[in-house]
Subunit: 579 residues, 2 copies
């Protein structure tokens, strides 16, 4: 009741607001890059802000006080008003857009017989231990304040496996949308967030071969189509085929996963670099590497690559490879019925980092990530290339030529330029590991699932929205009740109550005697589509006026239509499409 | 693909499953108590389980290994499969019911010109410091892994104030639904969770007196009515009236808040006990306490209590009290227009614990909390009682007579028996505190808000649902596609695709050749309302059968209706009310 202006007064000289500006610039740069626009002006501004920040922070001691603080209104503690490093506030427009993404995904998932669960944001430390290999160092721990040691969840897959094992559930379709936490170092990962949303759908339980696998891929395609973000391709491969190739080539068993992770880099590096990693760094015999090189360039439409593999008697003689190839044969049959086979690119260079995959693996690539031209990769033997829409040579070149900018900008090129928008696979042993480790009867619960990269999808939609100059409102208010001179606040409250009680989203000025222009401004600022005008004379006759603000006559000649007060609700409902 | 049965095999002998059973019993006991049913059988079962657990855990060393764990498939680490203390998994039915609560609340909020924000789950430690008084010890800290010191958020109010101050926003209506974290000791708080949802709606910004205050109360009443959980009363008071009474009685300024918190206990303790706390524990002069006692029993319909106060010249002469009384006069006028005044009980004993309130304060009480009979409180002077529907004497007695059981059960009687379902008030100085502490220009942003006790609402709805034997499904599947002998899996997939692509929620057996009874069982287990039956002969004629399972003829004579395949989508949409 005391404070006055409602304009933004963010003091430009404070560290907090500079940090905010940098963050917002980073997002803007990311968006520009996604839509392949020029961001050089923004990059320069950001560098200058970073310089300012350096000077300012030199004068400031940001070390914090003890746990109890210094009282509730100490005026000389110089703490910084910001969110923790790697986290951000989702403001109204961003929160609303994320909510739309979630409900779009949920509507697709719910068609597929799934339920949702909601697990705690932190787990016992032991549950996460030993699940993420080298990345375990990125796990956030809670402070040891006595009692159990806990960590913030790193993904939604391990909590799901823990949930299944703990409750002895051997069959379940579930989705889960929630935040996960990774203590990435911005210097290393260039702008990736430490708190971000994941959206996972998994099917646990035994099925006949590839039934659930094909349904997950069907769901993924339905979801990406429903999000309406443009063209995408799902790269797909099978761990058993890959491992069969390694066996055939003569990769020692203990090197399988490390050679596999080298193969996985083929979407970013040319074959020559990957081969060097295999031979020089990882000590693989050059002949073995060359044999792998014969296969890993295979990519293209499912049946084309499958035909190629099936016509290779040497490979078909490896039982593991044969199993994987048989699986793919069945899978493609089901995907044909599901009408999504055309979205797939069978890609032998896809290996996926995580250790726990045991069957098919996949990664969806958005058109904004895939280089437009056909890949020409001079070092990979040409016969293995069938057809391709997303090659590796070009993106690798792009990534290395940009390397300098990347570090300067603080932007993670790899998540913007060549990142995937969804990824997953089959993991048949994870739940059993938990059950066994807890001393329960070892029971395998085969699982297959996919994680949609919500933050990537968000960036794409946000950038698309900005390009289309579409104004996203942070709220959904439909009607503004405006009182001309002499109309009491209580009258506006009474009309608002009538509208609220009939489900119509309504606002009005919080002043007893607001000025008319200020009321119009409030309605305009919030882009409220309808203004309901109360004038003393009309009111006395039981009438009001309604003026549509959408596509309004800016000259202001449109006075709106006059309507009986007792017909207002019906009229507005009809206008709002809720008759 | 390897594992077999899909029945639950939760090994009864493990600690994990015993913990689960205890948790589920605790919930059951809580529900029974809410609905005032006998829970003695459940209490006995729980005690026996706890004994078993004691014996088992004696043999187990649950100390945990180092941060990197012992590899991904170590089979002899004996960790316990559970969620951290004070946290729980929300299983599908529970998650779905919570989602319904959230969307009900959101639908109400969105009518009132609000937007939502989404802040990080942890804040800089300094942001939370000094905001919660003694309860600061309940704040969860993140481990110091280098970099900033952070803590999990304790509520949604402080992050909102931080957000406003950081962004220089001086006017905003926002709601926020999210989890908050309090490291309560279960021995002290008897079963209260350490991770739980809060749902807050606040209006920041200046307004003419009581405009936003009355809208928040209108929103609260709309929300509680929309939740359809039964009768409720909103106890309401004004900090300035209370402080005016303390001035009049002669409470020293430095004792105001501590005497205030003693008054707040009048809903649980008789006046004699509260007076003792004031005089013996807090050193207040007995005459001063008696003067307070003259007023704090005032409660009843708004205008009744207001009339009582206004006819007291001594009190009206205290400027602070007069200001508060004038506010209430305006507030009641607006609440009359909003048609919610009848939900209010003006209650001079309501003081609310938090320090930061500066104006009106309120607390919504559900009928399940309020003792049915009129309160008789022998120690409070009778003239001050006007009318009441929720007295204090009875509940205090109930609470103390149950004290023993409470501790034994691990159930927090205070949250079940006398808890509030929503609470809030006006806080005009919190945002300014942040701006000032960060060295920004001190700007006051007056705020008023309310927090809905989602977990309490959940308990009430869950208990109501169980009493009505309403089966809540964890998923929304509408149609099961069942193939009789000879119908290929691909045919079932094809029909499912047709239904999915038309927005119909569909499932089918994941087997290539499922047995017919197993398919019926799957449809029945999931309570799927329609079964679409495919038989080879009918299919050849382009026909299928549809059988409604809701209210089905259990004798099984109903064969359903035969329908052309190309009319199936339209027929089902009509049946499902989506024509």
């Amino acid at each position: 009741m005391s404070s006055s202006s409602s304009t933004s007064t963010a003091a430009s000289a404070t560290i907090a607001s500079i940090n905010e500006e940098i963050l917002s610039l980073q997002n803007r740069i990311k968006e520009l890059k996604v839509s392949k626009q020029d961001a050089s002006k923004e990059v320069i501004s950001m560098k200058s802000l970073k310089e300012q920040l350096k000077t300012l922070t030199k004068d400031k001691d940001t070390t914090t006080s003890g746990p109890t603080g210094s009282g509730s209104s100490s005026s000389n503690s110089n703490f910084v008003l910001k969110t923790p490093k790697g986290t951000t506030d989702h403001k109204p427009e961003a929160a609303l857009l994320r909510k739309k993404i979630f409900s779009t995904l949920e509507n697709v998932f719910l068609k597929h017989d799934v339920s949702t669960i909601d697990t705690p944001v932190f787990e016992l430390k032991d549950i996460l231990a030993g699940k993420y290999g080298e990345d375990s160092k990125l796990i956030y721990d809670l402070s040891d304040q006595g009692g159990e040691l806990c960590s913030l969840r790193y993904d939604l897959t391990v909590p799901f496996a823990r949930y299944l094992a703990m409750n002895g559930i051997s069959s379940m379709k579930r989705y889960h949308i929630g935040k996960v936490y990774r203590r990435d170092q911005p210097v290393m990962t260039k702008g990736r967030m430490r708190e971000f949303y994941q959206c996972d759908i998994d099917i646990a339980g035994s099925c006949d071969p590839m039934v659930y696998d094909s349904e997950i891929l069907k769901i993924l395609c339905e979801a990406l189509t429903a999000l309406d973000i443009g063209q995408y391709t799902v790269k797909i491969n099978h761990r058993k085929i890959l491992d069969g190739i390694f066996q055939l080539a003569g990769v020692p068993a203990d090197k399988t996963r490390s050679i596999s992770s080298a193969v996985d880099k083929l979407d970013k590096l040319p074959w020559a670099d990957v081969k060097k990693e295999m031979t020089v760094e990882k000590g693989l015999d050059e002949k073995v590497a060359d044999k792998i090189g014969q296969y890993v360039g295979f990519k293209g439409p499912g049946y084309d690559v499958l035909g190629k593999l099936e016509s290779d008697p040497e490979l078909m003689a490896v039982p593991l490879a044969k199993q994987g190839i048989d699986d793919m044969e069945i899978l493609f049959r089901y995907l044909t019925v599901y009408k999504v086979l055309d979205k797939m690119s069978f890609d032998m260079s896809l290996a996926r980092g995580l250790d726990y995959y045991t069957g098919i693996i996949y990664e969806a690539i958005h058109e904004s990530s895939a280089p437009p031209s056909k890949s020409v990769n001079p070092s990979v033997p040409p016969p293995s290339e069938i057809t391709t829409s997303s090659g590796s040579g070009k993106s690798a070149k792009k990534s290395s030529s940009n390397d300098k900018n990347v570090n300067e900008d603080g932007i993670d090129e790899s998540t913007v330029g060549v990142g995937s928008i969804a990824a997953g696979g089959r993991y048949d042993n994870l739940v059993g590991m938990f059950a066994e480790a807890a001393g329960n009867k070892r029971e395998q619960v085969p699982c297959v699932g996919v994680s949609v990269g919500v933050e990537r999808v968000y960036s794409i939609m946000e950038s698309k929205r900005k390009n289309q100059q579409e104004k996203l409102r942070g709220k959904e208010t439909e009607v503004f009740v405006l009182g001309l001179g002499g109309v009491q606040l209580e009258k506006r409250m009474e009309i608002a109550t009538l509208l609220w009680d009939n489900g119509i989203k309504t606002s009005f000025s919080p002043k007893v005697n607001p000025k008319t222009p200020a009321q119009w401004k409030q309605a305009d600022d919030d882009a409220i589509p309808y203004v309901l005008i109360l004038a003393p004379k009309e009111l006395a006759e039981g009438k009001v006026r309604i003026k549509a603000q959408v596509g309004k006559d800016q000259a202001g000649e449109d006075k709106g239509i006059e309507i009986d007060l007792d017909k207002v609700v019906d009229y507005l409902k009809e206008q709002l499409g809720r008759a």
